[in-house]
């Protein structure tokens, strides 16, 4: 059993990293990043079975694909703090000549990244391909993916969702970040999607929900439940209920901080709400 306090401390530190990264370059996407901090910390510190080091093929280990690439700050922070690359490199986020591009890419050779993402809706197909390669390789490790809820408005997802169940891709756990916000407003205002549970179930997936997506213990339990549901002939969908901007009160429950950086004063305010735990980079 992981030490929950340690994971909570790491989550708080990741939130500081996110705020400081986007503040420094006055660009990036803090809202979704903050909302997914517990998910990434849980995934990389207890859920994923990974080898030491990094190779592209990832044979003999679990894989993770981020489809909504704009939440790169949380991804980079958690990867760095899991040892994929030096934590100091977070200083280079979005700067010229950096491996930490605005959206994640394999192009600059950053360890931990296996696909470029940013243009939305493509990650589930990639995750399915990787999952099918694992089956061909008789590799019983799992493939995980994360998608925004707004991102499901892209049609390619539904091609992938239909395919994954039809072809019994049951070594795949696709998590949907259900924060109900997108750039132009709430998902209900922009394009209501109805019941995602009903949709995924109608497409032949096993669906489970994590109601408290910003609670490490709840995320760990939910993801372990999801893992137990793999290998049963169906892909698994996790509906992860999160609050966009979680952990910084003025960023919460709004789409306003989807892609906006805090100013100096707002940074101080946000950092004060997330006191340093493991040390800033």
């Amino acid at each position: 059993m992981p030490n929950i306090k340690e994971l909570n401390d790491l989550t708080t530190q990741v939130r500081r990293d996110i705020l400081r990264m986007v503040h420094k370059v006055n660009s990036g996407h803090p809202g979704g990043s903050l909302g997914c901090a517990e998910f990434f910390v849980s995934l990389y510190n207890d859920i994923l079975e990974t080898k030491d080091g990094f190779d592209m093929d990832g044979i003999g280990e679990d894989l993770f694909f981020l489809s909504n690439g704009h939440i790169s700050p949380v991804y980079y922070s958690v990867l760095a703090r899991a040892g994929y690359f030096p934590v100091e490199e977070l200083n280079t986020f979005r700067l010229i000549d950096s491996r930490l591009q605005g959206h994640p890419t394999t192009h600059e050779g950053l360890p931990g990244i296996r696909i470029a993402s940013g243009s939305l809706g493509q990650g589930m197909s990639v995750a399915i391909g990787a999952a099918q390669a694992k089956k061909l390789n008789n590799d019983d490790h799992l493939v995980y993916s994360l998608h925004g809820d707004g991102e499901l408005q892209e049609g390619q997802n539904w091609e992938a969702i239909m395919y994954a169940s039809a072809k019994k891709v049951d070594n795949l756990i696709s998590t949907i970040d259900l924060n109900q916000q997108q750039i132009d407003g709430s998902t209900d205002d922009v394009l209501p999607m109805g019941s995602l549970r009903a949709k995924f179930e109608a497409f032949g997936w096993t669906v489970l929900e994590i109601e408290e997506g910003n609670n490490v213990e709840a995320v760990l339990k939910g993801m372990k439940d999801a893992k137990a549901l793999t290998g049963q002939g169906k892909p698994v969908c996790v509906l992860l209920h999160t609050v966009m901007g979680h952990g910084v009160d003025f960023m919460m429950h709004t789409h306003a901080w989807h892609g906006k950086a805090p100013n100096d004063e707002q940074l101080e305010n946000g950092l004060a709400q997330n006191p340093e735990t493991l040390g800033d980079y």
Binding site: G58, S125, V126, G129, Q132, Q156, Y163
Partner: protein
């Protein structure tokens, strides 16, 4: 190393897509990492033999090309070499962003194999006849673009691209066309093949237009015009040296392709010439237009993509020297 010289002999008529199918089947026997994907066009792409022999390495995606490109990218993670199969239109324009982000920018070892390219798709008409695919694909950084000229060259190219590590666009066609290159040829990506030597004009052709260029050179020879015919099967990376060496001798060039003159082989050649040796050039290609229904031969005639059109262009370009 200088240009590869080949003799050629007409043997029979066969479709280039069957060359792809034969090459893929051979890869199925020789390379266990090769996997194939198709978006509901197995028969059209001639993938049956591979599938019959390697059912576990075939992925029927259904009519969902975007998903197919993403799955192909994912399959490379784990060491597979995916070959995707659908029509050229659905292999490029329909899925441009998927190829751009998940394959090209991500540097994935996917082979995008595209049949029914160009106007010779025929009766289905302009919705299916893509004349822009070479341009779309050659603009993607790192993408190799290949358009072989006959059955044997397509088979050889199919097998060669499995040995190359990186994204490739392989373009071939639907109709039966002359087979004239050797069955045992070695295919070298990026290396032009010269079929005739000449002194008055260089004709650089790709795909179905190579045979037309050879027919044109015969007719021109009878009219006292000596044409050097070069087969550019790889549009990117382009064999700059072969082109420059030839025009140094002939002083003018005709490019011939079953593609829009905007974005095609002709423009790539024009760039090389503009940079190194400005030379009069004529373009045998479609001229910023969509196609239409008709037989392949009728369409090639109407849109000026045959031996007669090449001969006309040659006379025009020689007059500009």
């Amino acid at each position: 190393m200088g240009i590869i010289m080949k003799t050629y002999t007409y043997t029979e008529k066969k479709d280039t897509r069957s060359g792809f199918g034969a090459g893929l089947a051979e890869l199925g026997r020789t390379n266990p990492n090769v996997v194939a994907l198709c978006a509901d066009l197995i028969g059209s792409l001639k993938m049956d033999e591979f599938i019959k022999e390697n059912p576990e390495r075939f992925f029927q995606i259904g009519i969902a090309e975007a998903n197919m490109m993403g799955i192909a990218a994912g399959l490379t993670i784990g060491g597979k070499i995916p070959f995707t199969g659908t029509f050229a239109n659905f292999s490029t324009g329909r899925v441009y962003d998927q190829i751009r982000q998940s394959i090209a920018y991500s540097g994935k070892n996917v082979k995008v194999c595209a049949s029914h390219a160009g106007i010779t798709l025929g009766e289905d008409g302009a919705t299916h006849q893509i004349l822009e695919d070479i341009g779309l694909m050659k603009m993607l950084p790192g993408m190799v673009v290949i358009n072989p000229c006959d059955y044997n060259q397509t088979k050889a190219a199919t097998m060669a691209i499995a040995e190359y590590d990186g994204p490739v666009y392989l373009r071939f066609g639907r109709p039966a066309v002359p087979v004239f290159t050797p069955a045992d040829q070695k295919f070298e990506i990026g290396k032009a093949v010269q079929f005739t030597e000449g002194t008055d004009v260089t004709i650089v052709a790709t795909g179905h237009l190579v045979w037309e260029a050879l027919e044109a050179s015969k007719a021109l020879n009878e009219a006292g015009i000596s044409a050097e015919v070069i087969n550019i099967h790889t549009i990117k990376p382009l064999d700059d040296k072969a082109i420059l060496d030839s025009v140094a001798k002939t002083g003018c060039i005709v490019t011939a392709e079953e593609h829009n003159y905007l974005g095609g082989l002709g423009e790539s050649v024009a760039r090389v010439l503009a940079e190194h040796r400005p030379t009069p050039q004529e373009f045998v290609a479609t001229k910023d237009t969509f196609g239409e229904s008709g037989t392949p031969a009728q369409l090639m005639d109407k849109y000026g993509l045959n031996s007669a059109a090449i001969q006309k262009a040659v006379k025009k370009v020689i007059a500009r020297k």
